[in-house]
């Protein structure tokens, strides 16, 4: 360092705002939560697996909404496309290997992501929201009409996945499906964490903060968003594929506006722009729903509505975002 710079400055070594140890703690926490879930609810693994599938959908919304700033109310199109792709591969083409079915789900989701992205990105702001709703409704209608492939409103059945790695059969208690779900979640989470720090991830966050600035630095906003839509489709498609494997049926509800909106609510509740927020929001809403709605369906909606209003008004960063902020303030003192 030259003499013009005081030693205090020269000695300050720039450090990244994330650390490998924190990453491992995060992954360990997910695994620990998975084991606790298994021990606490051994008879409810099917529900937990379904939650993991929806977590993938919520993560995939986070990619386009939380990271890139494109709001969507039609993301179930990507999830449902993955579910139908995996289901159709098994029911019509005899591709029953679970890993191959997940791959089919990812591919289906990617294609749906590309189509959604091409359409949604034609609009701006509110227009994008409307286009995303139109897309999920079109997908829903298409699946309804193509009943010979999708089973229409009866749903797609005859999905019989063969044992995982040829060894672990999909048992009645859903242990295998749960294990597969946890493994997929850990892999997806690990990869998305890498993605969010990559040059591409930075560019996406730049687009959310100021797309005109991004264009003025010579990058293509549209191409970047389209790429993110495809990646988002892969993630949602894996979730859809997992759902098809674990429930062995795919219904039109997986391609619905309702599911799209619910998933967005989960994301907002958990906290946009952070992968942990997406996971926490989904678990809180879905487990809450399961327990409360069993007791009283009317109260379930009331409580859910009140919770949402409370979060949006008093903790706009969501559960995880607010907790992280409070922790940060406490540590700085």
């Amino acid at each position: 360092m030259d003499a013009n710079h005081p030693a205090s400055l020269a000695e300050q070594v720039a450090r990244p705002p994330f650390s490998a140890s924190a990453d491992w703690i995060g992954l360990a926490a997910i695994l620990a939560a998975a084991i606790i879930g298994y021990l606490l609810f051994p008879n409810n693994l099917a529900l937990l697996t379904r939650v993991i599938g929806i977590v993938m959908l919520v993560l995939s919304i986070d990619l386009v909404t939380g990271f890139c700033g494109v709001a969507t109310l039609g993301h179930a199109a990507l999830f449902g496309a993955g579910a139908y792709a995996a289901g159709i591969a098994a029911a019509h083409f005899g591709i029953t290997d679970p890993i191959a079915m997940i791959a089919a789900g990812a591919a289906g989701g990617a294609v749906a992501g590309l189509i959604s992205g091409l359409v949604v990105l034609l609009g701006h702001g509110l227009g994008q929201l409307v286009l995303s709703i139109a897309i999920v409704n079109l997908f829903h209608e298409a699946a309804n009409k193509a009943a010979s492939w999708t089973g229409g409103s009866d749903g797609l059945t005859d999905i019989a996945p063969s044992p995982l790695f040829g060894v672990f059969a999909f048992d009645l208690w859903g242990r295998t499906a749960y294990g597969l779900g946890i493994a997929l979640l850990v892999i997806v989470f690990f990869l998305l964490q890498r993605l969010s720090r990559s040059p591409f991830g930075m560019l996406c966050r730049g687009i959310r903060q100021d797309p005109i600035r991004v264009a003025a630095m010579g990058a293509s906003v549209r191409k970047t968003l389209l790429k993110m839509y495809i990646i988002s489709g892969v993630v949602a498609g894996v979730g859809g594929g997992l759902n098809a494997i674990s429930t062995q049926v795919v219904g039109l509800d997986s391609l619905s506006f309702t599911l799209s909106a619910q998933a967005l609510v989960m994301l907002v509740l958990g906290g946009t722009g952070s992968l942990y927020g997406a996971i926490i929001g989904t678990f809180v809403v879905m487990l809450f729903e399961d327990f409360v709605s069993a007791a009283n369906p009317f109260h379930w909606l009331t409580i859910m509505g009140a919770l949402l209003v409370g979060v949006v008004l008093f903790a706009p960063r969501g559960i995880f975002g607010t907790a992280a902020q409070l922790f940060d303030q406490w540590r700085r003192r």
Binding site: P199, R205, R213, A216
Partner: protein, 254 residues
């Protein structure tokens, strides 16, 4: 010297209002040009037209001999025509270091990469650090832009543009909104711009203009009314009229 940047008879009207009228100019590498003129003269519009943020009604823009009008804004940047904004446009939640790393990665065509981080790319870190130091931004390097002083944001706008290694740099009022006490830092940053870079600066601060520019262009009501040496600009009758006209009118009424 051959021109790196040429504009020929560029015109634009908003509705009936002609905001840019047959504006022509040429710049060579290393030029230091100030574009001045009363508020609403069409200076920002001129920048928006040549950078592709607005579509001109007619006219030609050439960069390094190639016609670039018709290209998207993004492609013009890739070819080396870079601008800054009159009101800073930065990423509020990113730090200056992240800004510069992103710009360097963009220049290298690596912003599409889905893995790795710039924190483990020594050459990107070094180049960002060097720019931070050139502009005296080390102390603010790792704070969010939303939390740093406006003068520092102004300096970052310049650093960000430099990280893209432009051939032609268009600075739209680089000192606007900066407290008087901090303008010397902006001025130092301008003085330190690469010698072979062609720079066109829009600025209201005449001290800054006279110290920076070797050539001054005056725009009034969308037309170039003066193009010459800084020393001659205040003597020019049309320039005085453009700047003082409104006062003269006031006085005649009073």
């Amino acid at each position: 010297m051959s021109a790196v940047f040429e504009v020929e008879r560029l015109s634009k009207a908003f509705g009936g209002l002609a905001v840019t009228q047959a504006v022509s100019l040429a710049m060579a590498p290393g030029d230091r040009v100030a574009l001045i003129g009363p508020n609403g003269a069409g200076k920002t519009t001129f920048v928006n037209l040549v950078t592709g943020h607005l579509k001109p009604d007619s006219g030609v823009v050439r960069l390094a001999g190639d016609q670039i009008n018709g290209m998207k804004a993004m492609q013009r940047v890739q070819r080396g025509l870079v601008r800054s904004f009159q009101v800073t446009r930065l990423f509020p939640e990113m730090t200056p270091r992240e800004h510069l790393a992103l710009a360097v990665l963009q220049r290298q065509g690596r912003t599409g990469r889905l893995y790795g981080t710039f924190w483990s790319m020594p050459e990107v870190l070094e180049e960002s650090e060097a720019l931070l130091r050139t502009l005296g931004l080390e102390a603010a390097a790792d704070r969010k832009v939303a939390e740093i002083a406006y003068g520092q944001q102004r300096l970052l706008e310049i650093a960000f543009a430099l990280a893209l290694r432009p051939k032609v740099l268009l600075l739209d009022e680089p000192a606007a909104g900066v407290p008087q006490s901090e303008t010397p830092r902006i001025e130092a940053a301008l003085a330190g711009l690469p010698a072979d870079l062609a720079v066109l600066m829009i600025e209201h601060d005449m001290d800054l203009v006279f110290r920076f520019a070797k050539r001054v262009i005056v725009l009034a009501a969308g037309t170039i009314i003066f193009d010459g040496a800084p020393g001659d600009v205040t003597k020019d009758a049309r320039v005085r009229e453009a700047y003082l006209g409104s006062y003269a009118d006031d006085r005649s009424v009073a």
